[in-house]
Subunit: 352 residues, 4 copies
Amino acid sequence: MPFNTGGITVTVAGESHAKALTVIIEGLGAGIKVDELEIYRFMQRRAPGKNRFSTPRSEPDRPVILSGIKNGFTTGSPISAMIENTNTRSQDYGSKLDIPRPGHADYPASVKFGQYFNFCGGGQFSGRLTAVLCFAGALAKQVLREKGIEVTAHISSIHGIKDKSYADGIEDVSRKEFPVISDDQGELMKAEIDSARLDGDSVGGSVECAATGMMPGVGDFLYGGIDGEIAKAVFAIPAVKGIEFGSGFGVCTMRGSENNDEFFMDGDTVRTRTNNHGGVLGGMTSGMPIIFNVAFKPTSSIAKKQNSVSLSERRNAELQVRGRHDPCIVPRAVPCVEAMCALVLLGKIKSE
Amino acid sequence: MPFNTGGITVTVAGESHAKALTVIIEGLGAGIKVDELEIYRFMQRRAPGKNRFSTPRSEPDRPVILSGIKNGFTTGSPISAMIENTNTRSQDYGSKLDIPRPGHADYPASVKFGQYFNFCGGGQFSGRLTAVLCFAGALAKQVLREKGIEVTAHISSIHGIKDKSYADGIEDVSRKEFPVISDDQGELMKAEIDSARLDGDSVGGSVECAATGMMPGVGDFLYGGIDGEIAKAVFAIPAVKGIEFGSGFGVCTMRGSENNDEFFMDGDTVRTRTNNHGGVLGGMTSGMPIIFNVAFKPTSSIAKKQNSVSLSERRNAELQVRGRHDPCIVPRAVPCVEAMCALVLLGKIKSE
Amino acid sequence: MPFNTGGITVTVAGESHAKALTVIIEGLGAGIKVDELEIYRFMQRRAPGKNRFSTPRSEPDRPVILSGIKNGFTTGSPISAMIENTNTRSQDYGSKLDIPRPGHADYPASVKFGQYFNFCGGGQFSGRLTAVLCFAGALAKQVLREKGIEVTAHISSIHGIKDKSYADGIEDVSRKEFPVISDDQGELMKAEIDSARLDGDSVGGSVECAATGMMPGVGDFLYGGIDGEIAKAVFAIPAVKGIEFGSGFGVCTMRGSENNDEFFMDGDTVRTRTNNHGGVLGGMTSGMPIIFNVAFKPTSSIAKKQNSVSLSERRNAELQVRGRHDPCIVPRAVPCVEAMCALVLLGKIKSE
Amino acid sequence: MPFNTGGITVTVAGESHAKALTVIIEGLGAGIKVDELEIYRFMQRRAPGKNRFSTPRSEPDRPVILSGIKNGFTTGSPISAMIENTNTRSQDYGSKLDIPRPGHADYPASVKFGQYFNFCGGGQFSGRLTAVLCFAGALAKQVLREKGIEVTAHISSIHGIKDKSYADGIEDVSRKEFPVISDDQGELMKAEIDSARLDGDSVGGSVECAATGMMPGVGDFLYGGIDGEIAKAVFAIPAVKGIEFGSGFGVCTMRGSENNDEFFMDGDTVRTRTNNHGGVLGGMTSGMPIIFNVAFKPTSSIAKKQNSVSLSERRNAELQVRGRHDPCIVPRAVPCVEAMCALVLLGKIKSE
């Protein structure tokens, strides 16, 4: 099913080792200025091979725009783009899927699609597909910026090492190679990643995202809430295991008198003194920054030997995952979270 | 927008103080046996006024089936039901919405809908609307049960007091008045609620939900993942601030070698020894129990005086919330979480 | 599946002999003035029992608004309404569906739903369900009128007797008991209906609909064309067998030089001198009146004895349809066509 | 918006002179055998430049499959394909859209998209986009064939010259260069086309389509009827002005006793002796062949000088359309109608 967030529809196709990834974006309208270089820069933030904290594959990930943009402006027709898969080493994956990799989609995909699953590199479940989501998200971010809305994210933690929280001030760290507010904490995080990599292991972490400049009242009741839409969108990113808005799971130990954010007049603007609600009340934007935090599991592909099963022989079997993999997916996930958030916000605004 | 989860579509209308709540459920097909008494029993689990831990309103919440069910079986036509709003005390809410209640949808709704917002009782943002979602969910649960799939939930924590986790064994506690696995912990939770109530305050908590018996391979890639769909569905319940699957936010501090759930042959069934993944891999069911945990904020309506603003006079103002309110919403939220989970599972199964 | 036309979603439930018909309308927004009496007047145009040209059943068809409208204005929440089925004579239909009525949905419904099909009165396939579509359409018409858009329809032919065409001038004849432009032709039509009625037979005909005041550019390319949306919507009305826009099937015998509508400046407005295109070019409104014509088959329920089969005994069988039926459905279909057109136009405008 | 027909979703992007056309097809599932040569043969039936009855452009229209198909089978991931636009002569269209061509989408598109409309060749409103719909339809036809369902179409008339009707026998004439049942009538049709071409003019006509082998009961009530879905799908083809099922507009002059198709037992199969209903009763398939007829207007692009307006100068202006155009679109429309029908049938079957 295409991904519809109200006014915007994003349809993605592709597999890790198919000829190309494709994306079609509908609903942006005509006459929107598109900065292709800016899109590419945004996409480079999730590209692999930038440094030792990410996989050594060097994919150019240069999107080819096939329709919908002409002379730097949207034409009003759906926007289609393609990213070719050029640097794929299928030989790392063998001729058939027999021993499913723990933590990956291999096993359920083998049940669902049988022998037809294009399993190399994880098929359509590969994190690689977030490349086209980032293309779409970069477009959405450009449209939002024109409306005074900024979406930004940072690494909020890696293996227990925490960055400063957006609750204490939102900062755009997107130009940093390692997107954290506190570079000192960033160094500790890098040490955790290095340590895992040397052990043939991986580490998890989290990404915090903020959107500022949103007008109040965007979102619908019940299953149309903007928080639910963001949650669904963010779970599209592989490795996500949780999401929380504002004080999030912290509310479980709070009383109402602590958690309720009191309103006050800030000039003629209604604001809340605190933002435990993370910018969402009753599924609608409150006008305060939308803030949410996303849990990412450690990369499932690790160099260590693991126990699994042989699907063909129906017996237990050992597995050694080959290929080139990130010891920590979190740094590259930062723009993906921004992208998904931006797509939801724009879609919701357009459907108001 | 209707709530579509693949094969099932649920459309809800209603406001806290409107004539009635309405729900239309499409996609169930013909010939499904419907136990109306069982539906009513399920709905009673979320009904208010059962004991001192919930609001003293006594709503019968008896749904009237308008079409789609005849002689105890679905006819194949959409199922429509209505719950009349009989016991509403609009005078608690005054003649117009002026001072928005902290934590509620009042303020963004006033921006979105202006003077037309039917604000009494929170309008369409009231927790009352979950009554019809529970009606739909109860139907879904009956269909799932025929397929050997059980959805169950319990209070996993209240104000820091934790129940046993489903990770250590899934138990159906739905028949308990206070649905916890450990009754001792339940007593401590009740004390927390009582204490908050006596202080004119409220407390937050969490609900853990499990679905057993799901076949592997249900769910789609990217934005079609079953985890994302469940997340979106659960955020439809007012007061939800976070959701996590399996080890959830715990994965942020784990290494891949700890977090990866190794496969083994259990007879001829492929299973994992641990269930950190919470039954979802790559957006698809793995065949292991789906387990997720949901954070609920403390009830926003508290008796304590709070600071807010007067929207008409554009100045700061104090507010004393009147009306009858739960000091803790968590016990009544348990069946709501089950309902939303069941609707997603059934919809996803039907669209495979 | 709900009926979504861009910005508006209409969800209907009900069966001819169920407790009630229900409709939920989403997307209208808050603050729209609703004239309930005008809605009721519109619905009365399709109501049965008005004269000898329609079925003698007298259904009050008074809709009960359950939510979404307060003090005469939409609240911004979905609008829900119900029409109770009070005057149903199930005994006309026997205890089970055995001999399917020619021309009706009985046979395919019996295959699809088996014994669970609530077949009395045709179940969910009854023309009776258009009552709630008319409720929704009446609302849409009120919103369109505020935008200067009028939707009107008339009987364009009955059993070969033709009314004047909208191509020669659009006229609102909605206040007439028998909605034709030429009353003389109307008398001939009535004679055809009377003649068929006396023979225990029925007659077909057509309805022409026009929408004036539409701005140019509304509609999308390919499967999003406003003509395709109107076509789909109109086929929701039972007994429709064809639809054509502008010159319609007449284009099959035309040359391009005849059929192309030349543009000219009418003051500062771009218009076409002729309207063979029926107001739609490339799936978009051209600014000229939208004009389309709809074919309705003769009422399938006739008093004459007919050949059919016994489904239980798998043999040929004779059938005499009982019950009260219109000898010609066309007069009552006129407001239904307006309703479906109005819903599409409003939905499409809202999604631009 | 993507084109969703229940179980199948088709998303198209492209403009006549953009880099490429793109299509993404979702819902086919894994393990479907794909005959790429057969797809290409099908697409060649709508390709231009085959003979003097079609435009002399020679587009290879060879689709490049980007993902979703591997080793001749679907993988279960969305299928993406692209057709490059290689043979486009933008100079025929000038530097900006000033004088809208009568009968084309130019004028409403200029209102809707302003200067950003990629107007060369008609932009996204070009008949060229049906190339990718035919790709999708060819896939659907292969899946349907496995289920014993055949979709076939022929030219039913051109400029008043009629072919035999499917009511008198369905015949597959897809291998003929000029797809008519009666070749004699075909020669007369060709003479009409030739005559129009020599006059710098064009002619209209119609396409009749049949689907055999459909099981009864496929389709939903009201706006979910299979006839309405087919209608909407067929209006996606540029130049369509009308559609009718079975006896179509002929029913307007019939009595019920003539039009009702009586059931009889054909062995153990319930069939009707006649097929005035065109295979659809109450929005559902009846098990009889689905038969419908589609009206196509004469090609709007004609060589004759025409009156129009200058949009920039707001004055009347003459226009001489350049470029290479079909004097009659009907022969190339035949596979397009089959494609749209096949996509709807498959989608509806999959959502049952």
